[in-house]
């Protein structure tokens, strides 16, 4: 049970086939071979190529070969298949929550040497994934928020709490993500009504949260799986409220659509892509240099300005102005997805979810 943002999945899928073909025969060993870096295809990859990689090459002399990767399982499967052939499809790449956890369970990620990455100190422990023996296998790369978005023509005063989802005055007017594993609504419900996500640690707790979450069903008009369906409806006011990506909502507002993204008082949902190193990647030093560069507050600020992602380092370390920071994040404590529960209780959650949304 692992999934990440649908949009990032869609962007990358087409490119992934190409990436796999490129990667299969090459075994990186000789010095001077470009470092193969995987990021989500489309806008993400373009921004990395334009704003991030040149600076890295300038600072370290290491050339970068950019690879578009799909998010989620598809990419994990490619890494696994490559590992069977004792190769790695990229030297370092982004990977989101649940598949990262699954990959770690099957130990398909290499341990990264902390000592070669001094800038790790700028990241909180939340952005450092470790094996049970303490070996580091994932380092936060980019973050993005899912918030409560409204159409200001239809709802002039945007609600400031996730509680609005339960408000009967919005009957049949809400759009929510269609999967437990990408909407993170269990986490939202637990934080809003049960004082935090700790209750999700047991199956009984998850059941209790589901009972509460089921109360939003009559208010939901659309359970969307592709971002486009909801964006259109939100911009036109057809479905005036719902959960949506803060960065895209900002872009829509900038284009003149009456869309407002609000960080609810309980916090926006913070999802992240982490850098992982597939098994059999060999360029250890170059990889460490890359992760080190990406963990620099300056690099994180460039990302925030150009890709619209939230920094994974303490914002105080960056030179982002309050306005720039507000455009990509909020100082309200975010809701962090409990990726672990989708691995542990996957079938249970998926069945309960399907039954719930089918009313």
């Amino acid at each position: 049970m692992k999934n990440t943002l649908t949009r990032r999945r869609f962007i990358g899928t087409a490119a992934a086939t190409g990436a796999a073909t490129l990667a299969a025969p090459s075994i990186l060993s000789a010095q001077g071979t470009p470092l193969r870096v995987g990021t989500y295809g489309g806008f993400f990859e373009d921004s990395f190529k334009a704003h991030i990689f040149p600076g890295f090459t300038e600072e370290t002399g290491i050339e970068v070969d950019s690879i578009a990767v799909p998010t989620g399982e598809t990419w994990l499967v490619q890494i696994k298949n490559a590992a069977r052939a004792k190769t790695a499809p990229a030297d370092v790449s982004l990977m989101a929550g649940t598949p990262r956890r699954e990959g770690a369970k099957q130990k398909v990620f290499k341990v990264i040497d902390d000592s070669k990455i001094p800038n790790l100190s700028s990241l909180s422990d939340r952005f450092k994934d470790r094996y049970e023996d303490g070996g580091l296998y994932g380092v936060g790369g980019v973050s993005w928020y899912i918030t409560l978005c409204t159409n200001s023509d239809v709802i002039p005063e945007a609600p400031t709490s996730w509680n609005a989802l339960w408000d009967s005055k919005y009957e049949d007017q809400i759009g929510l993500l269609g999967l437990a594993t990408n909407s993170f609504l269990l986490e939202v419900t637990a934080t809003t009504h049960f004082g935090g996500t700790d209750i999700l640690s047991t199956k009984e707790g998850i059941s209790e949260v589901f009972d509460k979450l089921a109360e939003v069903v009559p208010n939901v008009r659309l359970w969307y799986k592709d971002e486009g369906s909801f964006q259109q409806a939100l911009q036109q006011g057809e479905i005036p409220m719902g959960q949506y990506y803060h960065d895209v909502a900002g872009l829509a507002a900038a284009e003149g659509f009456p869309v407002v993204s609000t960080f609810p008082e309980e916090g926006g949902i913070l999802d992240s892509g982490y850098w992982i190193v597939p098994e059999y990647a060999e360029a250890d030093d170059e990889i460490a240099a890359f992760i080190n560069y990406m963990s620099k507050p300056e690099t994180q600020a460039v990302l925030a300005r150009n890709v619209g992602t939230a920094p994974v380092v303490d914002p105080a370390l960056t030179d982002l102005s309050p306005e720039e920071l507000a455009a990509v994040s909020s100082d309200i404590e975010p809701i962090i997805p409990r990726y672990d529960i989708y691995g542990e209780h996957g079938p249970f959650i998926s069945d309960r979810w399907n039954q719930m949304i089918a009313g």
Partner: protein, 280 residues
Amino acid sequence: MSKPGIARYVALVPSSVMIGVFFAIPFALILAVSVSSPADDADFRLGFDLQHFQRFATWFYIERALFSAGLCALIAAISMTIAFPFTYFLTTFKRRSQDWWLIYILAQLSLSEVLIAFSWQILLSRTAGVGNILAWVGIVEKSFSMTPSAGAVIAALVYLTVPFSVLLLFPALSRMDRSLLEAARTLGASPMRTFFTVVIPITRPAIISGGVTVFVLTLGAIIVPQVLGAPQHWTLSVLITDQAIFNFNMPFASALAVVLLALSASVIAAVSWLGRRREV
């Protein structure tokens, strides 16, 4: 065995090998995966474990399977009802206009399900859809969105299947012996009566096989129910996609696929058994 018999079997070899490779092997793999068991250090381990079928055997999934079958049967019925009179009159047209109509109908088949689903979504939306026309004409007070709804799913699926139905009915109706109709008319039957007592009975096999084909085709539709329907209208195929792509639970997706296959096989078997009994 006589010589022509052997020749016939030899002629069957190349196509049988092709069918074996392209259908039997993937199907065997799906069967094998559907009875595999989960593993901690891998996605699944081959073996014999019925837990995925046990997971199916809850009211939720059974209800979904029955809903899918019911929906597809309804689509087949509607699609045949629309296509039959059309095809019947089409066969009475001049050859040239028949050809143009058939080209037009065939061209519809080149549109992908994705394109059709999203076009219908726009067509039925509040801001750009037919609701505006209804409001302008004065039938409704103000435009409204018609998706997601069961009606939208049915409309788009019927749109998808009518061209198939026409093509399936066309050969039988165009080969029909017109002298039978003339005989019926000469003996005093009204056109309506001729249609129901002569045309329909002699083309029944085509209607039944066309209906079954449309039924089986619709069982595999994913995009239309997902885009135009609410979760209560999602078919088993949508749930299979969820499990395979989003939850990456291949064993459970395979088990659901096996159930879907069994469902369509039993419908085909039941229909052909009923057909044979009538002939006897």
